[in-house]
Symmetry: C2
Amino acid sequence: MREAFHEQLDTVFDDLAGICKLVEEAVAGATEALLTGDAELAERVISADVAIDRAREKVEDQAFSLLSLQQPVAGDLRTIIAALRMVSELERMGDLSVHVAKIARLRVPNVAVPEEIRPTISRMAEVAEDMVSRVSQIITGRDVEAAIALGRDDEEMDQLRRTSFVELLADDWSHGVEAAVDIALLGRYYERIADHAVSVANRIVFVVTGTNPRSVDAAGA
Amino acid sequence: MREAFHEQLDTVFDDLAGICKLVEEAVAGATEALLTGDAELAERVISADVAIDRAREKVEDQAFSLLSLQQPVAGDLRTIIAALRMVSELERMGDLSVHVAKIARLRVPNVAVPEEIRPTISRMAEVAEDMVSRVSQIITGRDVEAAIALGRDDEEMDQLRRTSFVELLADDWSHGVEAAVDIALLGRYYERIADHAVSVANRIVFVVTGTNPRSVDAAGA
């Protein structure tokens, strides 16, 4: 019975890693659509989100079934609750990618990101994508060291967000209010993707070690 | 045993309603600080958030204890899981109020919201505060009708957000990029508070009726 339980729990974690892969594709696709003004790709990212929602429902059903039928306690109980939280956060990361894709779509045939701020936004997108990709491996390998390292990379994201504000509030900003608002919101979306990635990684630390890293929530600053 | 269980569950819901009251105060305080440029009040909202975080931990501990010791199934299990989700969302609403307070603090001695866009932002804040206040009553009274009505009010918030974009992207916007970026982010924060309020209300519908309203997540548009 206990063995069946842990096999089913492994399936839940495999599914979480699979959702994380879908999120990684969503972040990458939304970013490419954003930087190239590709309406069709933006549309694909937006439509693909339903697959993430369905996969979340499947994980939730599995988790409820494990809770109901196996009545886990202590560590096993906390692991299932952590899985439920992780799947909510992964779904939210998918939603945030959709927000990026929607800004891309709104500005077609133009590109929402002016050339001079492109390095900052591209780097934010790269950091976010890299973090999501690592979270997928962290889930699969229950990799505590990699999870702790991920928290440190979140600092680069915060720094990039500050840089983006300096750039768009500079006296020589010549792209007007609309582009500035797009950049501010895009920065918020990428920052939130990174926050959630850290939160999911922290939950893996908790699942493996039974203790929380300093800040386990995606609350962010 | 079952009776003790339901008494403890009632305590959890009382605590959720109590957290909702703290969130209501946070939204109201952050808004007043924002509209008056009151640094001290902004500071108080920011410091008070720790009480929401602690209250969340208490609810989580109670929920875990109920899950471990009482091994609930079916509806009772789903109710506790719903409570865990509600408390996360309420905490997040507190964090979003802190974000509003931080924008207020950043602009002191000025006021972040220019006079001409004040009606729109004030109304957003009013709608958010009213929704949070009703959620508290919805939790206490397990009020399904009021919960369903809340979802409809979220439409006013979406409309206000669109209005704010029209205003700040108008040709005669004279307050520059910084104010526009503040307004865009403030709109996002109030909108998310409203999304979470709807989500918490929907979870009450689920707890009482056993079925989900059309969209139970704070995913938002």
